[in-house]
């Protein structure tokens, strides 16, 4: 369980990025949404200890993040940064994924086992000898996930995992996220892609100006006036509402609802 209690964060320049956030998550897929500058990244960086609370508390499976280093917390909470290229520096994919486990001081056998497992989990088997920078956009994103996954964290944070990817690449990332969730990982996806929220999330947390403006099921989230928070309702939902079939998650559901209604 990740527990955030009355979390405040004030940056060095005096900017109050978070003002009293309460938040909990377990083994679910949570979408963290909100306008640019609403505090999503700031909140997420508290969950693996990159930032420490100015006031309030963050606890991961009973560990207070103030009392543990990022390296210690990295075994519990994996953070996949927005731009995968910002972490690649090794000459091949195998060594890139091995970097994390190696920092944990594991044996060579254990490291190799973890690399193989992580590459399989993101569907990149056979890429061991490729140069990370030579991969495609979706492959890079999945490699970044593998790099963090190799630390064997229980929770995964993904910052804008599909931004800048084409439809097929983001589909491969979405598949990977679903698979990891079904294997018991708790996943927090930061995004402003409302289509992705609709397709993937079980729960939505909306930040606005450093405060939590909404926390609840996806359907309820999309029934709100999203414009007030600078967000757009997905095209699919507009169509389904116009067609009078209400809330649907994806195109097949819409088609089925329409076909069912016509019968």
């Amino acid at each position: 369980m990740i527990r955030v209690k009355n979390l405040w964060h004030v940056y060095e320049n005096g900017r109050e990025a978070l003002r009293g956030i309460d938040f909990q998550m377990g083994n679910e897929i949570v979408a963290l949404v909100g306008q640019n500058g609403s505090g999503k990244t700031t909140l997420a960086k508290h969950l693996n200890g990159l930032l420490k609370p100015t006031k309030g508390m963050v606890e991961v499976d009973g560990l207070d993040t103030r009392e543990h280093t990022v390296a210690e917390l990295s075994r519990l909470v994996g953070y996949v940064f927005q731009n995968p290229e910002h972490m690649f520096f090794e000459e091949d994919v195998f060594r890139e994924v091995a970097f994390g486990p190696r920092n944990l001081g594991l044996s060579e056998d254990e490291i190799e086992a973890r690399v193989r497992w992580a590459l399989r989990a993101v569907n990149l088997e056979g890429y061991e000898n490729r140069t990370p920078y030579s991969l495609s956009g979706g492959e890079k994103q999945r490699l970044a996930i593998a790099c963090v996954l190799a630390m064997r964290p229980k929770y995964l944070i993904l910052d804008e995992p599909t931004t800048g990817l084409d439809a097929r690449s983001s589909e491969s990332v979405v598949k990977t996220i679903r698979k990891l969730h079904s294997e018991g990982h708790g996943i927090l996806v930061i995004t402003h892609d409302m289509e992705l929220v609709l397709e993937l999330a079980e729960r939505v947390v909306l930040l606005h100006d450093g405060r939590k403006a909404f926390d609840g099921p996806v359907e309820e989230f999309f029934s709100m006036e999203l414009h007030d928070y600078g967000l757009e309702k997905p095209e699919l939902l507009r169509i389904s509402e116009k067609a009078g079939v209400g809330f649907v998650r994806n195109v097949p559901e819409l088609v089925e609802a329409l076909a069912g209604g016509g019968r």
């Binding site: 960086k45 940064f81 290229e85 972490m87 520096f89």
Partner: protein, 253 residues
Amino acid sequence: MIYPFYSERGSLLHSLDPRVKILGTAFGIAAIMLYNDPKVLIPLFFVFLLVGRFLGKIPVGEQLRLLKPLLPIVIITIIVWPLIYEPRLKGLLFGISFATRLLTFALLTFLLLITTNQRDLILGFVRLGMPYEFGLTISIALRYIPTLYILSRNIMDAQRSRGWEVEKGNFLVRAKKMTAVLIPLLVASLKTAHELSIALESRALGASEKRTFLYDIRMGRRDYVAMVLVLVLFGLTLYARYGLGIGHVEIYG
């Protein structure tokens, strides 16, 4: 934050011709290189702080904040000189004098950048006979300092999330660890540079030999007065140093 230093404040320094400010900065830097006695250099530093405060309308606190990143180098300079120079007290003296020079050098540069916008700065260099690319290169480089700083912090955070800890280990181990940050930083910078070069080329930078300018600068009476003042002050510094022999302590004697 497009351009990290410049901010419009409508002061005397802001309104001067960039050529005067560039030459003034150059003469100021030359002046501090003439002296090595802290008894002269330290007051000089404060004089420039006051120039920034009253002629440039830049609060002293803000000027000092800009200099803060230099603190580690300043401290190292002050500590190392007495260690390698006998007698130690004189070493300390030189340490302080070099540190003060460094701070004054940076302060003068910042004053120029804060009070001159990018366009005028480039124009100033060009009108002083420098190639256009020179001014452009300088202002682009300055423009990217904060970007690179934010980028490197971001990369460090990404690697720390993979259990990377730079604090651990001796100097060599740490240096080796830095590759995990330097390589992504290098790649990202090269990418940015490449994109920038495309942007510049697609706007036909360097297509014509002779550039024309939409805006131009002209020296007014105030600018000439300021220029003469700078020259007179520099002349006085030369006289004080070589005529009167003030402000210089023999290092190798």
